[in-house]
């Protein structure tokens, strides 16, 4: 029982099947009271399905789910008083003002927060009298958060709160979500942006193809996949021809044809390489060793190699490695 008391969400072996497709294939998830957890994964990974099962908006095929100590399959109005939900791509009725919509929704709860206070919380006080159709994307999202907060919930779900936003709108939404922390609200948010998860959450749970593939802080996740660093330099400064064989083999995959010709080691190949590629990059985990070898090769070739740069693995690299999604082009 003491376990239940500090767990806002507890999910064991959750499954959801649509015909032949298993959208959620055995998810385990726990969120402590007061924690902000990001549920990270690519589109179609099962994030929204899972969250909507927790919100009692969808039924599940099997598994155990407890949200605030209640099985959502037996959700009551009393239970719904305690949760706040921001759906993906939330829209509002355009003919109402922000304040009117909040007031309208406050009637749904037993002891709602005052409208002015809610608008203040999400930074929409100035836009209180603005018709929602004239609000920006970021403002619309903050209004959706306001509606989730009006009932003074213990737990808030946010489904992809910034998808499709420009950087400024994203920043706005982040500020609002950061603000939830000071209210002591437990938050489960879904996102397919690693940097968003890193910025907003205490902990990141990664889902891919309906399964949890990692769970931890951003540095922990990075350590878990141990992604290599990128070492790069200007092609004009040092040709791969001058490199020892071992380093040539580390040349990045997309320079494959360059690598092949560099291995041939002809003068003609060298000139071609210089024309075609501006920078060369090596991918390695042995950063120190490789840099020493590179500098030795550079010295032998008589170049200072001032253009040398070492880039540690990015959050995106970690994310792509975790989710096994090599084709994702919409990160960041």
């Amino acid at each position: 029982m003491s376990d239940e008391a500090h767990l806002a969400i507890e999910v064991t072996q959750l499954r959801k099947r649509y015909g032949e497709v298993e959208a959620v294939a055995g998810v385990d998830l726990s969120v402590a009271t007061g924690e902000v957890v990001a549920f990270l994964g690519p589109n179609g990974a099962g994030k929204t399905t899972t969250v909507e099962i927790l919100e009692a908006l969808r039924t599940r095929t099997s598994g155990d789910v407890q949200v605030l100590g209640v099985d959502p399959a037996e959700a009551t109005a009393d239970w719904r008083e305690r949760i706040g939900v921001v759906l993906q791509g939330a829209k509002h009725e355009g003919d109402f003002t922000a304040a009117e919509i909040v007031t309208m929704w406050s009637a749904y709860y037993r002891s709602p927060r005052p409208t002015a206070e809610v608008l203040e919380l999400v930074g929409l006080a100035e836009a209180a009298g603005t018709r929602t159709r004239r609000l920006s994307g970021g403002q619309q999202q903050r209004l959706a958060v306001a509606l989730a907060l009006v009932g003074d919930p213990e737990l808030v779900f946010l489904d992809e709160p910034t998808t499709g936003f420009d950087p400024a709108a994203r920043r706005e939404a982040w500020q609002t979500i950061d603000g939830l922390r000071s209210l002591g609200v437990t938050v489960l948010l879904t996102t397919h942006y690693m940097d968003e998860a890193d910025h907003l959450a205490d902990r990141i749970v990664v889902i891919s193809r309906g399964r949890i593939v990692a769970d931890g802080t951003a540095p922990e996740l990075a350590a878990q996949v141990a992604m290599p660093s990128h070492i790069s330099w200007d092609a004009a400064e040092l040709s791969p021809v001058a490199l020892p064989d071992r380093l040539r083999d580390l040349l990045r995959g997309d320079d494959a044809s360059v690598r092949a010709r560099a291995a041939a080691g002809t003068a003609i190949a060298e000139r071609q390489i210089e024309r075609e590629v501006e920078r060369f990059a090596l991918v390695t985990r042995d950063v120190g060793e490789v840099v020493r070898e590179l500098l030795a090769a550079a010295e032998a070739a008589g170049t200072p190699l001032d253009s040398l740069a070492v880039q540690p693995p990015t959050l995106e690299d970690t994310y792509l490695a975790l989710t096994g999604d090599t084709s994702s082009g919409d990160c960041s």
Binding site: E55, R80, E93, M104
Partner: protein, 255 residues
């Protein structure tokens, strides 16, 4: 908030949204009045020799039926589909608001509109075209309005089940009612129309609403008119609407 307070709040915001929507106010308030003026102008407001009543005695109840269908069926269906497709209904499902209070709020708003339009149409008919409500017919009028509003509200929710998108909603609802107006004593009396046309009118609910309302203004109806079987047919359509709604209504967007 108490359930009654929630109902009042929902109805209030529905009416506010209605007032702010130019399309809704035009089709539900302005257009019926324009029709009333146009029809009585075209056909004059003479005494019809066969019935002994004025032409407007036919049009006032017809236009009243049109306004009732517009407020309870068309307007409610279109608003509901817009809310469904924009995800507002889905978000509402995640709140403690009971579904019946949401539906009740919308029906209450439609009822207020119905009462408003009834007063407006009767007022214009009385002042402009000397069409009077027969005092003995007032109970019949109220019952017809109540049964009609309930039935068309239910059908309004039911029709949302076949509307795939918010763009489709106005087209589909109009497709349902526009042809029926012509065979349902709304635009033109169906007397003397081909058998198949009167049959279609008799099957669907609009004609029963229009004819039941017509009794209210008929200066020659005997005693207290109680068009009971018209109410039964309207009520049956209402029950059909409730059953379809219970079985097929969805809160989540189709797209």
């Amino acid at each position: 908030m108490t359930r009654l307070g929630q109902l009042r709040s929902e109805a209030r915001f529905n009416l506010l949204g209605f007032r702010r929507s130019p399309a809704a106010t035009f089709f539900t308030v302005v257009l019926p009045i324009i029709f009333l003026v146009i029809f009585t102008s075209i056909f004059g407001n003479e005494i019809i020799s066969s019935t002994g009543a004025r032409v407007a005695t036919v049009y006032v109840p017809g236009i009243l039926a049109l306004a009732l269908v517009s407020a309870n069926f068309m307007n409610a269906a279109i608003v509901t589909v817009i809310r469904r497709e924009s995800g507002v209904l889905k978000a509402m499902r995640a709140t403690p608001l009971p579904p019946w209070v949401y539906v009740g709020g919308q029906v209450a708003a439609s009822l207020v509109l119905t009462v408003f339009m009834t007063a407006l149409v009767i007022g214009i008919g009385w002042l402009g075209y000397s069409v009077e409500v027969q005092p003995g017919a007032v109970p019949s009028l109220l019952i017809t309005l109540g049964v009609g509003a309930a039935a068309f509200s239910a059908l309004g929710l039911a029709i949302t089940c076949v509307c795939p998108s918010e763009q489709a909603a106005p087209a589909i609802t109009n497709m349902c009612v526009l042809p029926l107006y012509f065979v349902s004593d709304v635009f033109i009396p169906s007397e003397g129309a081909p058998r198949w046309m009167t049959l279609i009118g008799d099957i669907f609910p609009i004609k029963h609403l229009a004819v039941a309302l017509g009794r209210t203004f008929d200066p020659f109806s005997e005693g207290v008119p109680l068009p009971a079987w018209r109410w039964v047919i309207l009520g049956a359509w209402g029950v059909f609407g409730v059953l379809v709604t219970l079985r097929f209504f969805r809160w989540t967007p189709r797209n």
